[in-house]
């Protein structure tokens, strides 16, 4: 039973990490919480459902189209909610509010396009069906696929940020946007690219989560937004390995709470861990205590 619970926590942690890594990427550079991240995640799930259930597409084409579309929504999000405020140097609160507004708009549009009900994916469209059985441990193949995809994407993201020119520009912007400009970094293009990557990751998480739990609705973004914030604060704002670690830690804390305490406290567990972290190390597990810029 413990083995099964560890597997449960690992696959839950994989979702958290995938979702939170995009959130932390945007926070790291722009210092803002993107409250529309969950709405994009939801669009990824519902779009892939639409393509599979209504258009009769296979899983992989639907995944590809949904993820690309999420990337495009990411750029539009930046153009609509963040760029106008950035140009006016509007501070921290206005972008928070305008991203919240965009998230409402995205939810409302989803209600219009996809309806308000929880939709189910057609069972024949989903690959990796079946369950891996190792002794008493059951592991749906979809969860296995998701964990593999998460590991690959996290590594790809890490590689992009740490080893490529775009990643270097992102880190330069993160540390000192003015000097980055002086070095010739095209700030707007870099930020747009970042939104594409972050939103595409949210899309991947959305598609897999929708398919794995066979459930998608316009409201599925709400709960994961909150978890995502807890994950990135725990892991250290702006740190991608931190998002992975934070995601796993919260998933394990939740599972352990169910196993050893009571499922009544499951949601509280994440936030208790979070608050303990804030007392011990306010910058999070892997967060660097960043200097406060004037």
């Amino acid at each position: 039973m413990i083995a099964q619970q560890i597997i449960n926590a690992l696959s839950q942690g994989a979702y958290y990490a995938l979702f939170a890594s995009g959130l932390t990427l945007i926070f790291g550079v722009l210092d803002i919480l993107n409250l529309a991240h969950g709405a994009i995640f939801m669009w990824g799930a519902l779009m892939s459902w639409f393509l599979m259930a209504e258009m009769g597409m296979g899983f992989f084409p639907a995944l590809a189209i949904s993820v690309v579309a999420c990337g495009v929504i990411g750029i539009l999000l930046d153009r609509a909610a963040f760029k106008p405020l950035r140009d006016r140097a509007a501070g921290h609160l206005p972008p928070l509010v305008s991203s919240l507004a965009v998230s409402f708009i995205l939810v409302n549009l989803a209600e219009r396009f996809f309806g308000t009900r929880v939709v189910r994916f057609p069972s024949d469209a989903v690959p990796f069906s079946g369950t891996l059985e190792l002794g008493d441990v059951r592991l749906p193949m979809l969860q296995v696929a998701l964990m593999c995809v998460s590991v690959v994407l996290m590594f790809a993201l890490w590689y992009m940020v740490e080893r490529t020119k775009v990643g270097r520009s992102i880190r330069a912007l993160q540390e000192n946007p003015d000097v980055a400009r002086l070095m010739g970094v095209d700030v707007e293009r870099t930020i747009a690219w970042m939104f594409v990557v972050a939103s595409a990751l949210a899309g991947v998480a959305g598609v897999f989560l929708g398919v794995a739990y066979n459930s998608a609705s316009p409201y599925m973004g709400h709960w994961i937004d909150l978890k995502g914030f807890a994950v990135i604060i725990l892991g250290g704002m702006g740190s991608i390995p931190g998002a992975v670690l934070g995601g796993l830690l919260i998933a394990f804390a939740e599972t352990a709470t169910v196993v050893y305490l009571s499922s009544d406290y499951r949601d509280a567990a994440a936030f208790v861990v979070l608050m303990a972290m804030l007392l011990i190390k306010p910058s999070g597990l892997l967060g660097s205590s960043r200097e406060v810029r004037a």
Binding site: Q4, Q5, N8, T116, R117, V118, M220, V258
Partner: protein, 454 residues
């Protein structure tokens, strides 16, 4: 006779914002209910402050109302009552008019979740409203007009629609909202304003305790859940169970508690209790824990979406226990989405499609013709509710000269006077509290279909 009444309305601080909000519509009513030829009150509202403590403030307010000759009662609705008293005093001469024939149309409101997370339940309700209106308006007596509005599945919108119906639109009665948590938020407004409410879908315990203006045709789960447990013990030989329920949803908590009592009463051992929250999608941790307990059955008290997730994920984890459930299990949507995972599952229902009472046979036939779909228990409850309201409107004898407050009171009294009703649900008996008691039945899923357990 000509009165020139000058009123000064004092608003005591500390009675809550909603009381102030209620004042203005009350004043509008006051102005309208006093026709020019009798009296035209002039209203000078003033904020009444007292530097003394709250107790003093209450005493001063009582003294003021005594001086003003208006009835007053301490409590949250002190303003509404005192203003209502003033209205009665001011419009005294108007009441002396000659009686006339009854109204032609009764303006009613309905508020349901047409969008949002629980909108899944409202389609059949909307259909039933439409069908019942068609039937009702073909009968003699006053016609019914029902304005349907969306509360987007949330409490605040339900409150807003209620306020609009009560104050601006002057509706005589309100149908809905859909679920218990919304009802607990909105219905007290109607109770305070003296507007009758007819609930057609709320199976949560305690909603009729809000007050004597709250009625329902929806059957409380607690009254039928014991029959599920009895059938599970008799037919399936269940000896041990694990319970899992949504602990942030009043409806699910009510079902859970009803199961808890019935299980204990029937000598079933409860091996463990797990909880989930509304909107959760991953239940693997809780279900893994339940798996290790190896119960004969798993009792699920949740709304539809979570029920589907719980059942399918339990099967994925290799759990083969049978499921027992509440109202959600009766939904055809849940049955379809859960598929094979729900085989053999048992639940009690206040109504089922193949019920053989005459009203039901006719109802099911007409519903299928009109909407090309099957009705569910919510449609049945809603249809009966409209019929009962029609019966009450006929009996109430509301005249065009009745003020809206009087008309609402007459309608409430007529509703309260109905003790039994023979309708689609079968023979309904209403308790003193306004709760319905129906025969009901237990269903079990066989080959993907609900079948009656004899």
């Amino acid at each position: 006779m000509m009165y020139n009444i000058r009123l000064t309305i004092l608003i005591p601080i500390g009675y809550g914002r909603e009381d102030k909000g209620n004042l203005w519509p009350a004043l509008d009513t006051l102005a309208r209910d006093c026709p020019e030829r009798h009296a035209k009150p002039r209203v000078f509202p003033a904020e009444w402050r007292s530097s003394a403590g709250r107790r003093k403030t209450r005493e001063e307010f009582l003294m003021f109302t005594k001086l003003a000759g208006a009835p007053a009662r301490l409590g949250r609705n002190v303003i509404g009552l005192s203003v209502a008293g003033l209205i009665a005093a001011a419009s005294g001469p108007a009441a002396a008019q000659e009686a006339s024939s009854t109204i032609e149309t009764a303006d009613l409101g309905a508020v349901y979740a047409l969008t949002g997370p629980v909108a899944i339940y409202s389609t059949t309700i909307q259909n039933a409203l439409k069908m019942a209106l068609e039937d009702v308006n073909g009968m003699d007596g006053p016609k019914l007009d029902i304005a349907l509005e969306d509360d987007r599945s949330n409490k605040n919108d339900a409150i807003n629609v209620y306020q609009k119906f009560i104050q601006r639109d002057q509706k005589l009665l309100i149908f809905g909202p859909l679920i218990g948590s919304q009802t607990f938020a909105a219905a007290p407004l109607a109770q305070r304003a003296g507007v009758p409410v007819m609930l057609t879908s709320v199976a949560t315990p305690g909603v009729t305790d809000i007050g004597d203006y709250i009625f329902r045709t929806s059957v409380e789960s607690a009254t039928i859940i014991p029959s599920t447990v009895e059938a599970a013990v008799d037919k399936l030989g269940i000896e041990t169970v694990a319970q899992i329920y949504t602990n942030d949803d009043q409806f699910s908590i009510g079902e859970y508690e009803a199961f808890d009592g019935a299980l204990t009463e029937n000598g079933v051992e409860i091996l463990g209790v797990e909880t989930i929250r509304t909107g959760d999608v991953d239940f693997s941790a809780q279900l893994t824990k339940i798996k290790s307990l190896d119960p004969d059955a798993i009792v699920i008290s949740s709304q539809g979406e979570e029920s589907v997730g719980l059942m399918t994920q339990a099967r994925e984890l290799g759990i083969d226990a049978v499921f027992l459930g509440g109202n959600a299990f009766n939904s055809s949507g849940v049955l379809k989405d859960a598929g094979e995972a729900m085989e053999n599952a048992m639940s009690a229902t206040p109504w089922f499609a193949s019920q053989e009472n005459e009203a039901n046979l006719e109802f099911v036939k007409r519903y299928r013709e009109m909407f090309d779909a099957d009705p569910d228990w919510l449609a049945a409850q809603t249809y009966d509710a409209v019929m009962i309201v029609k019966q009450a409107v006929d009996a109430a004898g509301i005249t065009p000269d009745d003020g809206v407050a009087d008309a609402r009171t007459k309608l409430r009294d007529a509703l309260a006077a109905i003790e039994t009703y023979d309708g689609v649900l079968g023979k309904i008996e209403f308790t003193d509290n306004g709760d319905p008691v129906v025969p009901g039945a237990v269903l079990q899923v066989k080959n993907g279909k609900h079948e009656l357990v004899e």
